[in-house]
């Protein structure tokens, strides 16, 4: 059983009103509050604040919930409330209801201060204590650090010094951190040490918002709830797997974060390796957080970069070009980037999973900015049928069967297989069968951040990577990052295309091609 928020672990109280068969009852978080660092950031305004409102609107936040903003700005509570209100009005997914907003607004507080100022944190501690008394948050607080990782050590120390991190008795204190979780294995370990110094590992929630997406969770249902797919989910039938996360936006305006980090660290280390783990892992014994993580860790420990890296990896940097109908700048002309920047905006790597199930099946992972269009998908490409009882001309246009999980946008599953072309002759061609759960317009399905924030308040860790997973991912990725670092400048590709030619060559070496997503 997972830990329920606010419920003491030691007594064996069973709530008589709960029943596993009562599937209507939603999980409402216990009395608690959220302290948000970095309230002025994009993420806070576009995702976190709207998600909090949507949770409240769905009745999933506890009565008396409190949201405290902490920033340098010289704001009063009302100014902060206005910022949250505006963010909610423009970005929330559920309709605006005055009565829900009024209840939420009663619990909004703002603390003005800087990270290195002791007094600011003392005021924050006072504010939190007042909320416990006035609103009944009962000492349960989560700290969401939507701030640059360089500020983590200071903030963690301050939280510890001011007693905000103390979870005595029945109360809990949790910390939520966003990527990047370091920039290599060494720095990730350092970061974990800093955070774990103040918060025990079970109180640390690392957000990888991909894991909060319905389609990613649906991957587990697809694999383990069906008889159809699992028998062919192995090296006997699978030729290779392509995991793609393509973005059409550039990195203009994010130079401070992106320059020197690059696509591999930004995306492959967290999102793509997590997707790989979910695609390749064995069936967990149960869906409890521990069992799930155990399988992910097991498969990640079997993942290695395919060698030689010269032939199995590619990287690129976008140059000026036409992104669809818009003319865009190259990376080196983007504001804030040096004109000789060697940061890669495209990265492709080949992983092998050294288990019996996956022996010899390459996993191609690619990501990039300013690519053809925005899409994230997992494509499992199957081998050709061992024997085709047709003339060569009949199956000329028959490709390989493929199962594609479309993570975003247009969530769903596509199955590609051969079918007879209508007519008097026998000709077989690829067709696709599409399953779109209509998720694109199911407003009721929760947004990733909603789900993840609620899980933080409930203390439900399934969808958050552990420090072991983070460190393992770096261990996998570090060799290629070091190699690229030695080699200097990446290849070029024009904005709006599907990456540098070297990426295509990478697959051609083994007679394969990238799917055009």
């Amino acid at each position: 059983m997972t830990r329920r928020s606010g419920t003491a672990v030691h007594d064996d109280w069973i709530n008589p009103l709960r029943d596993a068969r009562d599937k209507r009852l939603p999980r409402i978080a216990g009395p608690s509050g959220l302290v948000l660092f970095g309230v002025t950031g994009d993420l806070a305004r576009k995702k976190l604040m709207p998600a909090i409102y949507d949770l409240a609107n769905r009745g999933l936040l506890p009565p008396g919930f409190a949201l405290v903003g902490f920033a340098r700005r010289d704001w009063e509570d009302e100014d902060f409330a206005e910022v949250v209100h505006d963010a909610v009005r423009s970005h929330s997914r559920t309709p605006f209801r005055q009565e829900v907003w009024d209840r939420l607004a009663e619990g909004l507080r703002f603390v003005q201060g800087t990270f290195d100022d002791d007094e600011s944190f003392d005021r924050l501690a006072t504010c939190v204590a007042e909320l416990d008394a006035e609103r009944g948050t009962n000492g349960n607080h989560a700290f969401y650090l939507s701030i640059p990782p360089s500020a983590f050590p200071t903030v963690c120390k301050q939280l510890s010094r001011s007693g905000l991190a103390d979870d005595e008795g029945d109360v809990w204190r949790r910390v939520v951190i966003e990527k990047p979780f370091g920039h290599d294995l060494h720095s990730a370990q350092e970061l974990n040490e800093i955070v774990n110094d103040v918060f025990p590992e079970d109180a640390v929630f690392r957000i990888d918002h991909y894991l909060g997406k319905e389609t990613v969770q649906n991957l587990l249902a697809l694999r383990f709830a069906n008889e159809l797919f699992e028998p062919i989910w192995n090296a006997h039938h699978v030729d290779h797997v392509q995991i793609t996360m393509a973005e059409d936006i550039g990195v203009g305006g994010r130079a401070g974060y992106y320059d020197g980090i690059g696509a591999a660290r930004d995306v492959i280390q967290n999102h793509l390796l997590q997707l790989l783990a979910l695609t390749a892992m064995e069936e967990p014994v149960s869906f409890s957080p521990d069992d799930l993580r155990e399988e992910k860790i097991k498969v990640l420990s079997a993942v290695k970069l395919a060698e030689p890296l010269d032939e199995t990896t590619a990287r690129g940097q976008y140059t000026a070009g036409w992104q669809g109908s818009t003319e865009v700048k190259g990376l080196q002309q983007e504001e804030g980037f040096p004109t000789d920047s060697v940061t890669e905006t495209y990265a492709a790597i080949t992983c092998e999973v050294n288990t019996r199930r996956w022996a010899g099946v390459p996993f191609y992972l690619r990501t990039g900015k300013r690519l053809g269009r925005r899409v994230t998908e997992i494509a499992v490409v199957f081998k050709r049928a061992p024997h085709l009882p047709f003339d060569q001309t009949m199956t000329e246009e028959l490709g390989q069967n493929a199962l594609v999980v479309r993570v975003q946008p247009d969530e769903g599953v596509t199955l590609r297989f051969g079918s007879k072309v209508p007519g008097s002759g026998m000709e077989v061609r690829d067709v696709t069968m599409d399953f779109g759960y209509g998720t694109a317009f199911t407003e009721a399905s929760p947004e990733a951040y909603e789900r993840l924030l609620l899980d933080v308040l409930l203390g439900e860790p399934s969808l958050f990577p552990t420090n072991t997973e983070v460190e393992m991912s770096w261990r996998i990725l570090d060799p290629v990052i070091e190699k690229w670092h030695r080699e200097g400048s990446p290849d070029r590709y024009a904005a709006g295309t599907w990456g540098p030619p070297s990426a295509d060559v990478l697959l051609e070496r083994t007679g394969r091609t990238w799917r055009r997503p």
């Binding site: 109280w13 029943d19 939603p26 009745g59 399905s445």
Partner: protein
């Protein structure tokens, strides 16, 4: 797109569905269930279609609306097919049935059901006295009624209890999910003591209050009383307050106005909480989320305080 098929038959409707799908591309994929709406022809039908369209954004489905027109007429079927923007995320087939045909809903739906997909029947207005024995209800795995439209909801619920079959459910039950969730979450918090007495106050004729009483009685091994009390705010619903008494103090959830309530717990500040009456659309979406029999509802029905319901059987057939 709306296509009208006056004076038609079910095979023509089926043919048109296939034609529309071919000419407009694949519009009918990914349907997860067939929703049958049984209603009288008129404004009630349109309101129900709207609610179903909204709910279909969460559950793409085929909606078959059986709108019963005047009985004293020649048998006739008018059909209307709505797809695309006019039908939310679903495809809607409105079947207006006149004359003797009006009572043959069970036969009409058979050729139009989605293959292999679950079937849900919903009576937004008057429901048959025994939904599971109704010709339309019989084909459905899940039958949704709404006693709040009855003259006396409380009595209508009493009748539903007598004829309960697994798979029956009522919107009076989904309307109190938020109440149940708040009470359950409140009991999660210490002190973890058994509830010794409970009470539900609400309008004398409220089916939801009856159900909440039944639910508490079935879950808590203690006396649960049902108190008749007027509810402030009118539009907010029919339940005024729920009180769970424990040795260390009681938990009380009390409605203060149409849109909010106050939760009081021992040793804690009073907390205000947004609590509006749930819309039909929300309730329907919740009903469609689960397609298995609702045991908890059955237990709550069973444990409801008994009331004199007048005649135990309705002597005349209310609906077909």
């Amino acid at each position: 797109m709306i296509v009208d098929l006056p004076s038609t038959d079910t095979s023509a409707v089926n043919r048109t569905m296939v034609d529309l799908r071919e000419s407009a591309g694949a519009v009918a994929l990914g349907r997860v269930l067939t929703l049958l709406i049984i209603t009288e022809d008129g404004p009630e039908a349109e309101a129900a279609i709207q609610a179903a369209n909204d709910a279909s954004r969460e559950h793409p489905c085929r909606v078959l609306v059986l709108a019963r027109g005047v009985r004293r007429a020649a048998s006739r079927l008018d059909a209307q097919i709505r797809i695309g923007g006019d039908a939310g995320a679903s495809e809607v087939i409105v079947l207006r049935m006149y004359g003797p045909l009006a009572d043959q809903g069970g036969a009409i739906v058979v050729p139009l059901l989605l293959p292999d997909a679950p079937i849900v029947a919903w009576w937004p207005g008057d429901a048959p006295s025994s939904p599971a024995d109704d010709p339309v209800g019989h084909v459905a795995g899940r039958r949704i009624t709404d006693v709040s439209s009855a003259k006396s909801p409380s009595k209508a619920l009493g009748k539903l209890r007598q004829r309960y079959h697994p798979g029956d459910t009522d919107l009076a039950w989904s309307r109190i999910t938020s109440w149940r969730a708040l009470l359950t979450a409140a009991l999660d918090q210490p002190p973890h003591e058994p509830v010794t007495r409970a009470s539900v106050a609400g309008a004398a004729d409220s089916a939801s209050a009856d159900l909440l009483t039944g639910w508490l009685a079935s879950r808590l091994n203690c006396p649960v009383s049902r108190i008749a009390e007027d509810v402030p705010g009118g539009q907010g619903g029919q339940i005024a307050a729920v009180r769970l008494e424990r040795a260390g103090g009681s938990v009380e959830l009390r409605r203060v106005d149409a849109k909010s309530a106050v939760l009081s717990q021992p040793g804690q500040p009073d907390r205000r909480v947004a609590l509006s009456r749930r819309t039909t659309r929300e309730c329907l979406a919740e009903e469609l989320r689960r397609l298995d029999p609702d045991d908890i509802f059955a237990e709550a029905l069973e444990a409801m305080p008994s009331k004199p319901t007048g005649r135990t059987r309705s002597s005349k057939k209310v609906t077909a």
